[in-house]
């Protein structure tokens, strides 16, 4: 009873905290100085049509590196917590037809994923979204009982190497240009082209690969490996 009252007070209190924000909220009309700088810079300096991508990969690249690291830590952490026990995994009675179909499907999904992260600087989407799509491909394999054993160890390599490559491009930024994670280590190219915007698509692809493999790892660990 006391607890219920306390919960009630807590929730009402939170409402009281947020209420002034709602009542004082004004929809913004124009970009603030910083955001305007991003939009201008993205188009003119980095030649990235998708401003969100340039913010993610370039201006706030350190965040994104950190984000990839968080996901990596979750992968490793889930692995550490769900230590070793071979669980019975989700079984879907897979027929040969299903296996074959899913293999084909997976191939198509992979292609889609790759498309999404390589075009991250041009269209909405990018490394994270592409990575998830790739992971969903592997999920399908997992569900349809295709052995992932070999893939798993390759996955580790891919995961590690893409991460290291990401950092390496960042370091190249220090060595070749003026700062860590500067995309101008590669030529900026022509606005709107696939191969443009310096290292942005490369970084986003690496992120895509890394995120894909990390998410797959989480899925495999959570789903129970055989």
């Amino acid at each position: 009873m006391i607890k219920n009252v306390a919960v009630l007070i807590a929730v009402i209190g939170l409402v009281a905290i947020f209420l002034p924000i709602i009542s004082g909220f004004q929809e913004r009309d124009e970009l603030n100085e910083l955001a305007a700088q991003y939009v201008e810079g993205s188009i003119n300096e980095l030649r990235v049509p998708n401003v969100v991508t340039s913010v993610i990969v370039t201006y706030r690249g350190l965040d994104t590196l950190g984000e990839v690291t968080v996901l990596f830590l979750a992968t490793v952490g889930v692995g550490l917590i769900l230590k070793g026990k071979k669980e019975d995994r989700i079984k879907i009675s897979a027929s040969e037809l299903l296996e074959t179909t899913s293999s084909v499907l997976v191939a198509m999904i992979m292609v889609l994923g790759i498309y999404i992260f390589t075009h991250g600087h041009l269209t909405p989407g990018g490394g994270f979204q592409g990575g998830v799509v790739i992971a969903s491909g592997f999920l399908l394999l997992l569900l349809s009982n295709v052995s992932l054993k070999m893939n798993h160890s390759i996955m580790h390599f891919v995961e590690s190497l893409s991460g290291v490559a990401y950092v390496a491009i960042g370091v190249a930024g220090i060595v070749l240009t003026v700062g860590f994670l500067n995309p101008e280590v590669l030529p900026l190219g022509k606005f709107g082209n696939l191969l443009s915007a310096g290292a942005v698509p490369v970084i986003y692809s690496l992120i895509g690969i890394k995120v894909g493999s990390e998410l797959t790892s989480i899925l495999v660990t959570m789903g129970g490996e055989k």
Binding site: K3, A6, V7, I9, A10, G13, L14, A16, I17, P20, I21, G24, N32, E33, L34, A35, Q37, Y38, G41, T58, Y59, R60, G61, L62, D63, L65, G66, E67, T69, V70, F72, L73, A74, V76, G77, V78, G79, L80, I81, K83, H156, E159, S160, L161, G163, V164, V167, A168, G170, V171, G173, I174, T177, V178, G179, F180, L181, N182, P183, E184
Partner: protein
């Protein structure tokens, strides 16, 4: 000059690759892992050196080729470098501590650990609040996962509670971040100003700050943290408690400039509340790691409060306070958690097992002392300055809470320590000897704590090697501790003599010289009795020298701080000496508690005092200082605690009685005089600048009541040492009363009494030491008739009690004459009357002492015992010689005392040859001696003549008429000797005081037990606490 960004780069690359390295073998992954951690430490050390010593400007790292605020930037200034150097160092050491786990466990734990440390580095350096969020998440997730390094139900459920709390806190942090962006248009701290936030904009700041604050575990929204501290592997806990907290605390520090003062005050208060309640709840805690958890949380609270309440003061002082508290917490808490992991016993009661491993026990003590804020450790300096700041800014509520909280902390820490030193551990499994990887970090931090403390001292106060001599003495004796005790005894004697020789020219004032004789010469003579020690007595001489040197340093202390430093050294060393007694666990703890309470009052009193203009010794320069009334009051109470005044005396009898028998003379005869010295210091200030309220009138009354209460209590004791202890209390009461008169004659008599008491009480305690050495008992009714077996000792006791009681012809008579004259000239007739009555009572116990021990029938088991060893007899007779000398020639001492007092008052006595004259009469010690001797000679001759008619009765020449009593001792006349008297005193009898303090203790424990009930163990309730905490903080801050 390697950019600190490489810490992130290297950690990430190696972190990503570690699982590949591991396939090649654990050797490789471990090598890479430790290399990176070492690299971090080295890089930060280098940067710290550049920034702090070479004064290179703050290093700014822009990322992505743009300047802030467009891109995220990192900054490395002195504060960042210091925090990161220490955090990385702790991280490395904790990793060394975890070496076995890392070698055998999964590679995952290496990766998580490495990236955790990276998260700390990023969090501290980044200037971007969203980037802070990302690094906070890196830190959190790796910590969550690492809590399962030791995986059981407890760690899992604790980890889950941690995640719930951390998850919600970071959600609110994220909200704060985006609201801040909404209002300020930037995420970079360097581009925000406080005036960008007003009205609802403050809510953004509120969310941002309160969520970080929650991560810093404020009471009562911190149950999750306690569970984690208790259950998770010690190595990881040390990282959570120290490294994570440091990083998050630093993040909080970075956003502090944006916060309005109402927020800051609320956070500061919340920190204080946390400090207070954590320590109060710690009182009741029996689980070692949970206890450390309470202490950690409390320390963080204090640290946050110090961050807030030192805003605006001189930066150097501010950094000293914050840095000192932080460093102290970091080193000692990590060290203690590691020791807790090595000991493995959960209950602090079982920590007696630590005695198997002496070096570890020493380290344990060192960390405990550091954490309690004792000198020379960093916390001491920080606390001193912090108290001063609080006093200067008139935050008395905060001050009081901090001091009471600190006292609570000291109580549970020292309780734990005394348990480790004394509690019986015979039935427990002996502790396995820890491997090198476990012992190394602990030792390293122990040494570092010591080095740092001296460094801080040098840095901020210059260095006077004499001030640290007490510690040097301990270190030196530790080095030669394997020598036989007698050798060490002689070395110590030589050291004391050498110290005295060195000190002598520094004692320019007569008053210093006088106390120099009591402190140094008195100690030297008392030291002779310790030469009787047969066993190795490890540590004993170190502590003894430490105490003696701190006595001496009190005399020449030229600032408040130096005085207080020596005072605390004295407290610590005497505590350790008392603790050596066989059953001294409780006694020493009580001593420490009361002493510390007194020390805090002294610290506060000095903080109120105006600055000193002179560089002379404090005792000389104090007369030019205009102390405020509050200083007089608290300092008087502080000093009276040390001198064992009534009401706060309860530590005294036990400490005297339970200390080793050759330690007791030091405590009674010399240590109590330190309290007197303090009161005299206060008196001198009073003479020249008396406050409006007559403090010393009341001090005088307390002295008088102490004198009579002590006398009564002494009469009721069965234990010879307790009897002497209460007698000391009573005698010091006389001294205090005499001092409090603030007249010439009063001071002469007080100092005279002090000197006299030093001699006869030393002699008496050493005599009892000799008796105990032979009979192995302190209960007087178990003795009797020892006059025939120990005539030399008997002689000492006889002469001494004559000197005490104030009957002619010995020195006590002069003392009494002086003091009554002083009272009458002062006009304190009632006080004089009470004291006169007290002297009557003192005959009761003195009679009991000599009668029960030496007269009557010799006990069967004592038929064959011998006289006390020569090492006991020699100092007794040196003191007796002193007593005889000043009895015969009182002017030997009256003259210098007259000179001392004349420095402050007009003389009220004249000295003419051997005669001392006051306005009420005169006293000639020599004459008194001859008259009395003549009076004694007559009955003595009579007795000799009648000798032939005596009939000797054999001891057991008794026929029992009925059955033998159950316990024959209780029928002894000396057993419960003054029971009727006690009865007649009724409710006036003094155990009331004891009861009072017991109920104080009980109440604090009950409150602690009550408040800790908020920690139900339910993760959901903890979350509710967090939400309610946020709501309440909002209400508090919004209300202003």
């Amino acid at each position: 000059m390697v950019s600190p960004i490489y810490i992130l780069i290297l950690s990430l690359s190696v972190g990503f690759l570690l699982s590949i390295f591991d396939r090649a073998g654990r050797k490789f992954s471990l090598t890479a892992f430790y290399s990176v951690l070492t690299f971090n430490v080295a890089l930060m050390g280098d940067w710290l050196y550049r920034l702090a010593v070479l004064h290179v400007p703050t290093f700014v790292i822009n990322t992505a080729g743009f300047n802030a605020p467009v891109s995220i930037n990192l900054e490395l200034g002195v504060a960042e470098a210091l925090v990161l150097f220490l955090a990385n160092l702790t991280g490395l050491m904790a990793a060394v501590y975890l070496f076995d786990k890392f070698r055998e466990g999964k590679v995952s734990s290496l990766i998580l650990y490495l990236l955790l440390v990276m998260g700390v580095n990023g969090l501290v350096m980044t200037q971007d609040i969203f980037n802070m969020f990302v690094f906070l998440e890196i830190l959190s997730i790796s910590t969550f996962a690492l809590t399962t390094l030791k995986k059981n139900l407890k760690t899992l459920s604790a980890g889950f509670k941690y995640m719930i709390a951390g998850g919600v806190a970071s959600t609110f942090f994220l909200l704060g971040v985006v609201f801040v962006y909404y209002f300020a248009g930037t995420l970079n701290l360097g581009f925000m100003t406080a005036d960008q936030f007003s009205g609802i904009g403050l809510i953004a700041l509120f969310l941002l700050s309160v969520s970080l604050f929650i991560e810093l575990k404020p009471f009562p929204a911190n149950g999750w943290a306690l569970d984690v501290y208790q259950s998770v592997d010690s190595g990881i806990v040390s990282v959570i408690a120290v490294v994570n907290s440091a990083a998050i605390g630093f993040a909080f520090y970075k956003i502090m400039p944006l916060l309005p003062s109402s927020f800051l005050t609320a956070f500061g208060m919340a920190g204080i509340v946390t400090f207070f309640f954590s320590n109060m709840m710690g009182l009741k805690q029996e689980n070692a790691k949970r206890l450390l958890g309470y202490s950690s949380i409390g320390q963080m609270g204090l640290l946050l409060a110090s961050l807030v309440f030192t805003i605006g003061i001189e930066p150097a002082v501010r950094y000293l306070i914050i840095g000192g508290l932080f460093l102290n917490h970091l080193l000692s808490k990590a060290g203690l958690f590691w020791i807790a992991g090595i000991v493995k016993e959960e209950k602090i009661r079982n920590w007696g097992v630590l005695r198997n491993n002496k070096p570890l026990l020493v380290l344990f003590g060192l960390f405990i002392f550091a954490l309690s804020g004792l000198p020379p450790f960093a916390g001491f300096w920080a606390k001193w300055e912090f108290v001063k700041v609080l006093v200067d800014s008139k935050m008395f509520f905060v001050l009081g809470t901090v001091l009471v909280g600190s006292l609570f902390e000291l109580i549970f820490l020292f309780r734990w320590f005394t348990m480790a030193v004394k509690e019986n551990a015979d039935e427990l499994e002996p502790m396995a000897s820890p491997g090198f990887s476990r012992i190394f970090p602990v030792s390293f931090f122990g040494i570092l704590a010591a080095v740092v403390s001296f460094g801080a001292m040098r840095c901020f106060y210059g260095s006077n090697w004499l001030q640290v001599l007490p510690v040097i003495a301990v270190l030196f004796i530790t080095l030669i501790d394997s020598l036989p005790s007698k050798v060490k005894g002689f070395i110590s004697l030589a050291a004391v003599a050498g110290y005295g020789y060195y000190l002598y020219p520094l004692l320019t004032g007569n008053i210093q010289l006088f106390f120099g004789v009591i402190f140094i010469a008195g100690s030297a003579v008392n030291l002779i009795s310790t030469l009787n020690r047969k066993n190795q007595s490890k540590g004993f001489y170190g502590f003894l020298l430490m105490m003696i040197f701190s006595f001496g340093n009190l005399l020449i202390a030229s600032t408040y701080l130096e005085f207080f430093l020596s005072w605390e050294f004295m407290t610590l060393s005497s505590f350790l000496l008392i603790l050596r007694g066989q059953n001294a666990q409780r006694a020493s703890l009580m001593y420490m508690i009361f002493s510390t309470a007194g020390a805090y009052l002294i610290m506060v009193g000095f903080s109120f005092a105006p600055a000193l203009s002179s560089t002379a010794a404090l005792i000389l320069s104090i007369q030019d200082v205009n102390l405020p009334l509050i200083s007089f009051i608290v300092l008087a109470i502080g000093f009276m605690i040390k001198s064992g005044s009534v009401g706060v005396h309860i530590w005294l009898p036990e400490a005297h009685a339970e200390a080793e028998s050759d330690v007791s003379p030091f405590i009674s005869a010399i240590l109590l005089k330190a309290g007197v010295f303090g009161l005299l210091l206060l008196g001198i200030a009073y003479v020249s600048n008396a406050p409006s309220f007559d403090v010393f009138y009341w001090v005088g009354w307390i002295g008088v009541i102490t004198a009579i209460a002590g006398a009564f209590m002494a009469s009721f004791q069965e234990d010879a040492k307790k009897l002497l202890a209460y007698s000391s209390m009573s005698q010091v009461g006389y001294i205090v009363a005499a001092l409090a008169m603030i007249t010439h004659l009063g001071w002469v008599s007080a100092l005279y009494l002090a000197f006299n008491h030093m001699m006869f009480k030393s002699a008496l305690f050493i005599a009892v030491a000799g008796i105990y050495y032979r009979t192995r008992t302190r209960k007087m009714y178990e003795m009797g008739g020892l006059i025939s077996r120990m005539p030399w000792t008997y002689m000492t006791v006889l002469m001494s009690i004559i000197a005490v009681s104030g009957v002619p012809p010995l020195s006590g008579f002069g003392a009494k004459w002086l003091i009554y004259t002083a009272f009458i000239t002062k006009g304190w007739y009632l006080q004089a009357g009470v004291l006169f009555f007290a002297s009557g009572v003192s005959f009761l116990y003195l009679y009991r002492l000599i009668h029960t021990i030496f007269l009557g029938q010799l006990k069967y088991e004592h038929q064959e015992i011998k006289e006390a060893p020569a090492w006991f007899i020699i100092p007794q007779y040196i003191f007796l010689a002193g007593i005889m000398a000043i009895s015969m020639f009182p002017n030997l001492i009256i003259k210098p005392l007259n000179a001392i007092a004349m420095h402050y008052f007009d003389s009220s006595i004249q000295i003419d040859g051997l005669t001392v004259m006051s306005e009420l009469g005169y006293w000639n010690g020599n004459l008194v001696m001859y008259v009395t001797m003549a009076v004694f000679a007559i009955p003595f001759i009579m007795l000799l003549l009648l000798k032939g008619k005596t009939q000797k009765v054999k001891q057991f020449n008794i026929v029992y008429a009925a059955e033998r009593p159950e316990s024959p001792q209780t029928t002894h006349v000396a057993h419960n000797m003054y029971a009727h008297l006690r009865k007649s005193l009724g409710s006036l009898s003094l155990p009331r005081v004891q009861e009072f303090w017991n109920s104080v203790a009980e109440w604090s424990h009950t409150l602690g037990a009550f408040f800790r009930r908020v920690y139900t163990g339910n993760g959901q309730t903890y979350l509710l606490h967090i939400i309610l905490y946020i709501v309440v903080m909002y209400a508090v801050m919004g209300g202003q």
